[in-house]
Every structure is written in C-alpha cells, then in structure tokens.
Symmetry: C2
Subunit: 116 residues, 2 copies
Amino acid sequence: MKQEAFTMSLLLDYYGSLLTEKQRNAFDLYYNQDLSLAEIAEQEGISRQGVHDTINRTEAALLQMEQAIGCIERAGHIRKAMDMIRACAEALSSHEDPTVRKNAESILSAVASVKE
Amino acid sequence: MKQEAFTMSLLLDYYGSLLTEKQRNAFDLYYNQDLSLAEIAEQEGISRQGVHDTINRTEAALLQMEQAIGCIERAGHIRKAMDMIRACAEALSSHEDPTVRKNAESILSAVASVKE
C-alpha cells in the first residue's frame, strides 16, 4: 500500500495539524522514519492490521484535504513562477549597470524569502 | 458579533470546502451577501439563534483551520515578496538595454501568473 513517500511527507507537512495525534504519529513513523507496519505495531502496542487501517484512513483524509484546500498545488505554481523569476534575475545580476545589478539582487532576496 | 468581513471572506475562500453546506451557506449569506441574522433565518427557515450559533461555530472552525494550516499567513508573505519583485522589475522595464527589458517583462509575467 505504500504511496509515494515524498508526496505523503508533503501532505503531512501542510495538513498534519488537522490529524489526530495517533494518525500523525503512525504516518510519521511509516513515511518519514520508514518503519514497517510490524515495527510500528510493536512500538505502539497495537495490531499490524490496526496500523494498516490507521495509515490508510490518514492517507485518504490528507488527500481529501489537499483536494479541498490545494496547498500543494498552489505551492507548485508558486515554485514554477519563482524558478522563472530567479533565472531572469540571475541573468541580470552581473550586468554592467549597477542599478540593474541592485534590482536583480533585491529580486533574488525576495525570491529567497518566499516559503511555499 | 460580526467579525472583519474581508478576513472572514478570505477564510471562506481558502477553507470553505471543508465546511458543511449549511455552514458555508450561512457564512456566505452573512459575510459575502451581507444579510442580517433575521434575514438568513427567514430565508433558511430556522431560528435567528440557530443562524447565530452556526455562524459562531463556523468562524471558530475557520480560524482553527488557519491556525493549523496557515494559508492566509503564507499568502501574506508571498504577496509581500511579489510586491517587492514587481517594483524592482518595473524599475527595469524601460531600461535602454533590450536584454534587461526582456528579463524584466518575463519577471512581471511570472509575478502576474501567481495565484496566492
């Protein structure tokens, strides 16, 4: 059942605060710490099937939140725009005119300040 | 009880899909359509107190979602960075060097493409 770990980890970053502690914990152990279902079951003192069900339900809940709120999709658009802006500003950052260089540096700083 | 309508409307844009239809509807009528509690009560066929309670609970739920997910805070940071980038690119958009103008135009297009 293991889904693409990077996507699942991103979903947890954005929406993890809306999960229960039990869901967040199982999900973190499975996707971020890469423990097996059996290892999580042993550590948490519940059945392997119980862990399996919790993780499945948590995945469904996170995907539903992304569908409703769209943080990750929005972050993708922003990242694409930032990549374009950064490339253009870098092309100007060694221009002979100091005013151009100064504006390019300010643009690069602003790009660097954005948390997607 | 009426909260700042612009903030409430933003919260509804970001997190409205996570509300029930009843909550979303009452909230929209109150904050976007500017109906009174009595008018909503009449239109929906429920008590004024019922509308009041629904809107209060919906406000609390939306504020909790923002605290957990932070879409509006993140959008504020991005808007600030975009304003800075736009100002710098505009300053370069009439530069005598066509390469500078071209890069500035590309940056302005990328800024315009961002949906916060």
